[in-house]
């Protein structure tokens, strides 16, 4: 989880991800360019491949949702 926070904070230093209550995508906190940058970093750090089909708001609305997606993809080949 700490790795994920680091990636998020590096991409958007102005957002407090640890105490965020709003929805990151639905509330427009992250834009599509942020998401693209973040996914690239996540893919590299966690050795997974997030594909287009997983690009749904509900997968990226909170750090917890992102972590759930990462863990799901880590279990798959």
């Amino acid at each position: 989880m700490e790795t994920l926070y680091k990636i998020l904070e590096e991409a958007r230093a102005d957002v407090d991800f640890r105490n965020q209550t709003g929805k990151l995508i639905d509330d427009g906190i992250l834009d599509s360019f942020d998401i693209i940058a973040i996914i690239g970093e996540i893919n590299e750090a966690f050795g997974i491949d997030i594909s287009v089909d997983e690009l749904l708001p509900e997968n990226f609305n909170s750090p917890e949702a992102m972590m759930a997606l990462i863990e799901k993809l880590q279990k798959e080949v």
Binding site: A11, F33, A37, G40, N43, E44, V52, V77
Partner: protein
């Protein structure tokens, strides 16, 4: 066998009768045979290319899935005993293996497309390049017949293989059924570019005969005929006159040519889509919508979300996102952010991917540099629009523009229409240089009086034709406004009284018969996108 021909209508009618006469379970077989017959009528022995690519794509899908299934089973059993690094390296090796199979399939399919469509482009450019270094190269260029619809079904095939690789759905084990997905005749000529999970199930389903569907399908076909024969082919005469004799014209007339070509392409391509969707609807199969009133777009980006939608979403899913999400692009993004700061840095990799997409969209249209310039022109406007957004916002605040006012929206639509039309010079002119010279002559010598001094009547259409043209453009505009407001036109007509309803049907029919551009003196031209 052209879509806009009596023989096609007879063909569809016969297929229809046989389709519904067959037992439900085997109706898809009728479509498969009809599809290959249709292909044979149009491209004879080149049907072998389609069949060959179908085999390659089908086998690739099965092989990727087999590798994937085997690995999943092994991983499930052994992952508990594996260390973190062992897991990572196992996953990596499986991904590499799957990637190799996918790459082989894609390269074969793409190779066939490149060979048939682009061989002369590459040979010609190789000769020019060697010529630059003073090395002479013999002219190896040769003419080949382009297999019908190859630009469309190659993209369909690639999407299928990549989706299996991404485990979006299971590979199709039934070869002949898969062959129908690849060859389905209403959409093989010029799309819409179908996705397997949206089309395949529908074409294999057991459809019963439905009179409303038949009626609605025929109406859609009729509307397609109206757009193609009354509008597109008539406008084509004017556009051809201007572009074929571009040195004779200046200013407004040249711009009229570009606007005309935009409208001609719209009526031609969307008309073709309506015929394809109408025919398909009769069988009970819904094809994707390829156009959503593109000329109401308020930005070029929105225009491409409304124009040739299935190509746009294909590019997004199989080029733009895979590239932007790749590790290489992630590294690039990191470096760019350090170099240029967050605002530009984080956008740069997406811009690169976007430029590549528009380059490919341009190149996909044809084997000529002018299409590449056309693509890049669109990419440039979109990226500059995103980059300059803060400047625009300041301007909007400065001039107190009400962003939700009708006036502002109308201004945005006109602006997008004009920018779009400017790009049309490249897609229609004989070459890039001609397009540049036309644009120069348009701005340098406006000659607006030519719209009123009778010049319009010398462009191949007489006053009567120009009136029909104007009336048809207004009708198209009204239909688009209705669609934009969510009106379902066919349903609305169906709810009217018997006399009014049939008055509309017969009027539409006679309009095509009387004002359609065909007959002994005139050959109905092929669809523009059929040649891509």
């Amino acid at each position: 066998m052209e879509f806009v021909s009596a023989i096609f209508l007879i063909f569809v009618s016969i297929v229809c009768v046989i389709y519904f006469a067959f037992p439900k379970k085997h109706r898809w077989v009728v479509l498969l045979i009809a599809s290959y017959l249709f292909y044979w009528f149009n491209s004879t022995y080149l049907a072998a290319v389609l069949a060959g690519m179908t085999v390659v794509t089908w086998l690739t899908g099965l092989m990727i899935e087999k590798t994937s299934d085997k690995a999943s089973e092994y991983f499930k059993e052994h992952q508990a005993q594996m260390t973190e690094s062992e897991r990572k390296s196992y996953k990596n090796s499986v991904t590499q293996k799957k990637k190799r199979i996918l790459l082989l399939g894609v390269l074969i399919d793409l190779g066939v497309l490149l060979f048939f469509k682009y061989h002369n482009f590459f040979l010609g450019n190789a000769a020019s390049l060697l010529g630059l270094f003073g090395i002479p190269m013999k002219d190896y260029r040769f003419d080949l017949l382009l297999p019908l619809g190859i630009s469309f079904y190659t993209l369909q095939a690639i999407a299928y293989m990549v989706d299996i690789y991404r485990k979006k759905y299971r590979a199709d084990r039934r070869f002949f059924r898969f062959a129908l997905f690849m060859s389905y005749f209403p959409q093989i000529v010029q799309g819409p570019i179908a996705r397997y999970h949206k089309l395949a199930e529908q074409i294999y389903q057991e459809h019963s005969f439905d009179f409303t569907r038949l009626k609605f399908g025929c109406q859609l076909i009729l509307w397609g005929f109206m757009k193609k024969l009354i509008l597109a082919d008539r406008l084509g005469i004017l556009v051809d006159t201007i572009f074929d004799n571009y040195t004779d014209y200046r200013g407004g007339i040249l711009f009229l040519g570009a606007i005309g070509f935009g409208l001609q392409t719209y009526a031609d391509f969307s008309g073709g889509m309506e015929i394809a969707r109408g025919v398909s609807q009769i069988f009970g199969i819904e094809l994707e919508i390829n156009f959503k009133q593109p000329y109401f777009a308020k930005s070029i980006e929105e225009f491409w979300r409304r124009w040739h939608i299935t190509l746009g979403t294909w590019m997004k899913d199989y080029i733009f996102y895979p590239l932007s999400l790749s590790k290489r692009f992630a590294n690039l993004s990191k470096k760019a952010r350090k170099l240029f700061g967050n605002y530009i840095g984080k956008k740069l990799p997406s811009f690169l991917a976007m430029f590549l997409v528009y380059f490919l969209v341009g190149f996909w249209h044809g084997s000529s540099w002018k299409y590449v310039v056309y693509g890049i022109w669109n990419g440039m406007i979109i990226t500059s629009g995103i980059l300059l957004a803060p400047v625009y916002q300041k301007g909007i605040a400065l001039f107190h523009v009400k962003e939700d006012s009708y006036g502002w929206k109308f201004f945005q639509m006109v602006r997008t229409f004009l920018l779009c039309s400017l790009g049309r010079f490249f897609s229609r002119a004989g070459s890039c240089m001609i397009a540049f010279s036309m644009i120069r002559n348009m701005f340098l010598y406006p000659r607006t009086w030519e719209f009123f001094d009778g010049t319009l009547l010398t462009l191949g259409l007489d006053a009567k034709d120009l009136t029909v043209l104007a009336a048809m453009i207004i009708l198209l505009l009204l239909v688009d406004i209705a669609h934009e407001r969510g009106v379902k036109i066919r349903e609305s007509i169906a709810s009217q009284g018997f006399i009014f309803r049939w008055l509309i049907y017969w009027t539409a029919f006679y309009l095509v018969v009387i004002f359609g551009m065909y007959g002994p003196a005139y050959d109905s031209s092929s669809f523009i996108y059929q040649q891509f």
